[in-house]
C-alpha cells in the first residue's frame, strides 16, 4: 500500500475518528477536525502537478482479489489529478464554509462530517482508480453517501423524498454501468482501464461493443443528471447548502462527466458515442436553462443551471470525440471542444461553488430563498452582492470572468460542427449551434434573475424571517476564494492551460507521441463567437426586462414537469401494487407462510430432480449400518412423532431438544467432533431461547389444537420425501472429485493449522465467515428493533 492509496482512503479513516472527536470535544465545532484533511490532501495532490504537466502518469498498485483480476490500482494522470484537486480543494472550502453554516448546538455534526468524508473518499476513489471494479465500488459509494447527505435533515419529508429519488436514479444507472463493465471484461479479459484502452482497436467491431457503450453511458447520464434523468437533481437541493455546493456543483454530478471523459479513448471511435453524448448534452443544456428561468427558489435556479451546464460540458466532450473521426479536417478545430469541456469544468466548479455558498448565505441571513420575497439586499450585504455579481456574470459568460472564455470556446466548438461532413445543414447538425445559442440566452436571463431579483429592487422586510445583515467573515472566506479564482482565471487563463487542461486532454484523447499545448487568449478578434456573445447579451437583456410579459409561456406546460409526474406516478404505482400484493399473501399467519415456503421447496426441488434426471440410488458405496445408529435413528423418530401429540409446550420444547442432542450424538459416532460440539451448544442455547419465547404464549387448549388437515399432511410428507431423495442422490452422484483432499493437503501447509474445519472457517473461506457474522449482527439488530418497536405500542412507526 503506497502513500497514494493511503491518501484515497484517508477520508474513510478520518470518518471513524469524527464521532469520537465529536463526543470528546463538544465545545469545538467538529468541522475543525475535518478541515485539515482536505487541505493536506490538496497539497499532496499538488505535488503530482510536476509529473502530470509533462502529460505523464503515475500508477501504484496492490492486489485486492488477484484471482479475479481485481487490483486496487491507483493512477494519477491529468484527468484524475484535475478531479482530485477539485474534490479536495472545493472540499476544503466547503468544510470551512459549513463550520459557519451549521450550528454546532442544533445539528448532529458527527453524522454530517462522517457522510461528507465518506463522500469525499468515494469521489477520490472514483477518479483515481484504474480498475473498473474498484471504480464501480467507489461509484456506488458516492451514490450511497450522497443519499445520506441529501437526506441529512431526515425529519423533513422533502429531504427523504429527494434522497430516495437521487438514489433510485443513480443506483439504477450504476447497475447498468456494472453491466457495461462486465461486458468490457468479457471482450478484453481485464478490468484495467489502461489495458482496455490498449485493446480498444480490437474490440471496436465486437458484437458486445455497442451494448457496453450504451450501458456505460446510462451510468454516466444518470449520475450527471442528463435529460431525461435530470429530475433528481433539483430535488436533491433539499440537502444543507454546503452539501449542495459540494455534491451538485463541484463533484458528484461531475462523476458522470469524468466517466465519459475516462471512457472516451475506448469508445470515441464509434460514431454512436459522439451522437449520443453530443445530442443528450445539448438537449440537457437547452432544457435545463429553459427550466431554470421559471424557478422561484434560489437553489432551484442553481440546480437547473447545474443541469444545463453539465449538459454543455457533456456536449463538448461529444463534439471533441469527433476529432478522432475526421482526419481530413484540421484536428485542432475539434480538440478545442475538449479543451473547452475541461476548461469549463474548472470554471463551473469555481463560479457555481461560490454561487451556492452565496445562496446559502442569503438563506442563512434572511430565512428564505424565494426570489419573490427577496429583493434590495444589496445595501445589507455588499460583499455577498459583489460575490454574486462575479459568479453570475461568469455563469452568463460575460467578460472579464472565466466563464466568458469557456463560453466563447464552447461557441467555437459548436460553430465548427457545421464544417464537419456529417454535421451540415442537410442533417440535424445545424441544431447544435442554434440550440447552444438559445440556451446561452436563457442562461443569461436566469443569471440576471439570480442576482438582480435578490439584491436589487424593492426591499420587503415583512416577508423575511430574519433581519438581513452581512454574513460572518468565516462564511465569506470560501466564496471569496472561489470568486477570486473566477477573476484570476479570467485574466490569466494560461496559468492553468498547460498545468491542468492539456494533461487532462491528453488523458481524454491520447494520441501516440502527441503533446497537447493549449493557449487561451482573452482577446481573440472579431470572430463569429464574439458576435454570438453580443447577440446573447442584447437579446438576454431585452428578454430579462420584458420577463413578466412572456413568462406565461411557461404556463403552456403543466405545473409539474411531465417527467416528474411520470416518475411520481410510476413510483406510487409500484408502491401500491407491491402493497396490495403483499397484503394478499402476507396475511399474518405464520402457518400460511410455512405452507408457501414448503410448497415452493417441494415443487422446485422435485421438478429439478426429475427434469434433470438427477435422482439416483446407489448403495454400492455405503458402509454397514450399526446397531447404535439404528437406536439413535429410532430415538429421533419417536421424539419427533411424540411432539405432534403432546399437550404442553414445555414438553414439546424438551422433546425437540432431545432430537437435537441425538443428532449431535450422530456427529460424535461419525467422528465429527467440531460439528458435535457446535450442535450441542447450539441446541442448549436454542432450547433456552424457545423456553423464553414460549413462556409468553398461553397454554395450549384442546379446542385450539389444529384439526387434521390433508394438505398439511401432504406437505409435511413431501418435505421429508424431498430431503430424503436429495440425500440419496447427493450421495450416489459423484460428479466431481471431493474438495476435501485439497484441504487435507493444504491445511497445515498453507495455514499452519491442524483443525481443518476451523482453518476453513477463518482462513480459506474467511470472507464467507466475515459476512456470516455480519448477517448475524444484522439479525440481532433486526430482532432488537422489532421487539423494542412493539414495546413502544407500535405507534412510533411513521410509515404505518
Amino acid at each position: 500500500m503506497s502513500l497514494l492509496h493511503l491518501a484515497i482512503i484517508s477520508p474513510f479513516l478520518l470518518a471513524i475518528l469524527v464521532p469520537i472527536a465529536y463526543k470528546l470535544f463538544r465545545q469545538i465545532h467538529t468541522g475543525w477536525f475535518v478541515l485539515p484533511l482536505p487541505i493536506l490532501l490538496f497539497s499532496y495532490f499538488i505535488s503530482y502537478l510536476s509529473i502530470t504537466s509533462d502529460q505523464q502518469s503515475v500508477t501504484k498498485s496492490f492486489s485486492w482479489i488477484p484471482t479475479l483480476g481485481i487490483d486496487f490500482t491507483a493512477k494519477v494522470d491529468g484527468l484524475g489529478l484535475l478531479f482530485a484537486l477539485l474534490i479536495t480543494g472545493i472540499g476544503a472550502l466547503v468544510v470551512l464554509y459549513s463550520i459557519y453554516y451549521l450550528d454546532k448546538n442544533k445539528e448532529k455534526l458527527n453524522t454530517f462530517y462522517v457522510y461528507l468524508l465518506l463522500f469525499m473518499g468515494a469521489m477520490l476513489g472514483v477518479v483515481l482508480s484504474d480498475n473498473l471494479i474498484v471504480l464501480y465500488t467507489f461509484w456506488e459509494f458516492t451514490s450511497f453517501s450522497s443519499f445520506l447527505l441529501i437526506g441529512y435533515w431526515y425529519h423533513r419529508e422533502k429531504s427523504r423524498y429527494g434522497a430516495q429519488k437521487s438514489m433510485i436514479i443513480t443506483v439504477f444507472g450504476g447497475l447498468s454501468m456494472l453491466g457495461g463493465i462486465i461486458l468490457l471484461y468479457l471482450m478484453t479479459g481485464t478490468f484495467s482501464i489502461s489495458e482496455i484502452i490498449a485493446q480498444s482497436d480490437e474490440i471496436f467491431s465486437h458484437s458486445l461493443f455497442v451494448p457496453a457503450l450504451l450501458c456505460i453511458l446510462l451510468g454516466a447520464f444518470t449520475k450527471s443528471a442528463q435529460f431525461p434523468f435530470h429530475i433528481w437533481l433539483p430535488d436533491a437541493m433539499e440537502a444543507p447548502t454546503p452539501v449542495s455546493a459540494y455534491l451538485h456543483s463541484a463533484t458528484m454530478v461531475k462523476a458522470g462527466i469524468y466517466l465519459v471523459a475516462r471512457m472516451s479513448p475506448i469508445f470515441a471511435e464509434h460514431s454512436l458515442w459522439l451522437w449520443l453524448i453530443a445530442g443528450f448534452g445539448i438537449t440537457t443544456l437547452f432544457w435545463g436553462s429553459f427550466s431554470a428561468v421559471k424557478q422561484t427558489d434560489l437553489k432551484a435556479i442553481l440546480a437547473f443551471s447545474t443541469v444545463s451546464q453539465l449538459g454543455m460540458i457533456m456536449s463538448l466532450l461529444g463534439i471533441g470525440a469527433a476529432a478522432l473521426h475526421f482526419e481530413t479536417v484540421d484536428d485542432s478545430y475539434f480538440t478545442i471542444a475538449t479543451t473547452a469541456a475541461v476548461f469549463h469544468l474548472i470554471n463551473h466548479a469555481t463560479f457555481k461553488g461560490s454561487l451556492f455558498m452565496v445562496a446559502g448565505i442569503v438563506d442563512h441571513e434572511t430565512g428564505t430563498r424565494d426570489i419573490r420575497k427577496l429583493g434590495g439586499l444589496m445595501n445589507f450585504m455588499p460583499i455577498t452582492f459583489t460575490l454574486a455579481i462575479i459568479g453570475t456574470f461568469s455563469m452568463a459568460g460575460l467578460p472579464p470572468f472565466n466563464g466568458f472564455l469557456s463560453k466563447e470556446m464552447f461557441f467555437t466548438g459548436m460553430v465548427r460542427v457545421l464544417e464537419m461532413d456529417i454535421f451540415n445543414l442537410d442533417t440535424w447538425g445545424f441544431l447544435f449551434p442554434v440550440l447552444a445559442w438559445v440556451a446561452s440566452v436563457f442562461t443569461f436571463i436566469y443569471s440576471m434573475i439570480l442576482v438582480f431579483k435578490t439584491f436589487t429592487g424593492k426591499f420587503q422586510p415583512e416577508q423575511l424571517e430574519k433581519k438581513p445583515h452581512e454574513a460572518p467573515i468565516g462564511m465569506l472566506i470560501s466564496p471569496i476564494i472561489l470568486a477570486s479564482l473566477v477573476i484570476i482565471i479570467g485574466f490569466f487563463p494560461n496559468i492553468i492551460s498547460n498545468t491542468l487542461i492539456s494533461p487532462a486532454q491528453a488523458a481524454i484523447m491520447p494520441v501516440e507521441g502527441y503533446v497537447y499545448d493549449t493557449h487561451i487568449y482573452f482577446w481573440h478578434g472579431f470572430t463569429p463567437e464574439l458576435f454570438m456573445t453580443l447577440g446573447v447579451i442584447t437579446l438576454g437583456i431585452l428578454l430579462f426586462v420584458t420577463l413578466p410579459k412572456w413568462r406565461s409561456v411557461y404556463n403552456l406546460f403543466p405545473e409539474k414537469l411531465a417527467l416528474n409526474r411520470f416518475y411520481d406516478s410510476g413510483l406510487s404505482g409500484i408502491q401500491q401494487g407491491a402493497h396490495g400484493f403483499t397484503r394478499w399473501y402476507m396475511n399474518g399467519s405464520i402457518r400460511n407462510y410455512l405452507v408457501y415456503i414448503f410448497t415452493f421447496f417441494i415443487v422446485l426441488l422435485l421438478s429439478t430432480l426429475f427434469t434433470k434426471n438427477a435422482f439416483k440410488f446407489d448403495v454400492s458405496n455405503v458402509s454397514a449400518i450399526r446397531f447404535s445408529e439404528i437406536v439413535l435413528a429410532l430415538v429421533i423418530a419417536v421424539g419427533s412423532i411424540t411432539i405432534l401429540f403432546v399437550k404442553s409446550r414445555l414438553t414439546s420444547i424438551i422433546l425437540l431438544g432431545a432430537v437435537g442432542y441425538t443428532v449431535a450424538l450422530f456427529f460424535v459416532i461419525f467422528r465429527a467432533p467440531d460439528l458435535a460440539l457446535t450442535q450441542l451448544v447450539i441446541e442448549t442455547i436454542s432450547v433456552a431461547l424457545f423456553l423464553l419465547c414460549f413462556y409468553h404464549l398461553p397454554k395450549i387448549k384442546d379446542e385450539e389444537r389444529m384439526p387434521f388437515k390433508a394438505t398439511n399432511a401432504v406437505i409435511s410428507i413431501g418435505v421429508g420425501l424431498v430431503v430424503t431423495l436429495i440425500a440419496f442422490s447427493a450421495h450416489s452422484n459423484k460428479l466431481f472429485d471431493s474438495i476435501s483432499q485439497y484441504y487435507i493437503e493444504n491445511t497445515y501447509e498453507k495455514a499452519a493449522g491442524k483443525n481443518m474445519v476451523n482453518v476453513i472457517l477463518v482462513d480459506f473461506r474467511g470472507f464467507d465467515t466475515m459476512f456470516e457474522i455480519a448477517v448475524l449482527a444484522i439479525a440481532a439488530l433486526g430482532i432488537f428493533g422489532m421487539i423494542k418497536l412493539r414495546l413502544g405500542g407500535g405507534k412510533k412507526n411513521e410509515n404505518k
Binding site: D674, A688, L692, A752, N755, I773, F784, I787
Partner: protein, 140 residues
C-alpha cells in the same frame, strides 16, 4: 413468580467459571483441535444464559455491565480490521500470517492473525446471542 433456587444459584457460581474457562480453552484450541471462535462464543453465551436463569436480569446487568451492541460492533471491527491489516503489507484482503515463537514458561507458541479474526467471530457470536435472549427475555 418467586421460587427458591438456592441450589441453582450456588452451583452456577462455580460452574460459570468452569464453563468460561473451558470456552477460552476451546477458543484457543480451535486451530489444532476441535473448537474455535464460534463454539467458544456460544459456550460463553451459554454461561451467561445460565447466570440469567439462576439470577434475574438486573443482577446480571450489574455483574456484567456490557453493552452487547458495542460487543457486536467490536467483533465486526476485529474481523474486518484483521482482513484490512493485510492491505498494509501489500497482500490481498484477509491474507493471514503466522509465526512460531518461543516464550519462557509458556513454551513454544504459534501466533496467528487468524486468531484475531476468530476473536471477532467470538465477540459477534456472544453479542448476538445475548442481544436476542435479552430482548426477548425483557419483554414481559
Amino acid at each position: 413468580m418467586k421460587t427458591n433456587d438456592i441450589i441453582l444459584q450456588t452451583a452456577t457460581k462455580i460452574v460459570l467459571f468452569i464453563i468460561v474457562l473451558f470456552s477460552v480453552y476451546i477458543f484457543f484450541a480451535g486451530h489444532y483441535t476441535p473448537g474455535g471462535g464460534f463454539v467458544g462464543g456460544l459456550l460463553t453465551s451459554g454461561a451467561i444464559i445460565l447466570l440469567l436463569l439462576a439470577f434475574d436480569m438486573k443482577t446480571v446487568e450489574k455483574i456484567l455491565p456490557v453493552n452487547f451492541m458495542y460487543m457486536i460492533a467490536t467483533g465486526l471491527l476485529f474481523a474486518i480490521g484483521t482482513g484490512a491489516g493485510g492491505l498494509l503489507f501489500n497482500v490481498p484482503f484477509l491474507t493471514h500470517a503466522f509465526t512460531d515463537v518461543d516464550i519462557p514458561i509458556l513454551g513454544h507458541l504459534s501466533l496467528h492473525t487468524a486468531a484475531l479474526f476468530d476473536l471477532g467471530v467470538f465477540l459477534v457470536v456472544v453479542g448476538v446471542t445475548m442481544i436476542i435472549i435479552k430482548t426477548i427475555g425483557e419483554d414481559d
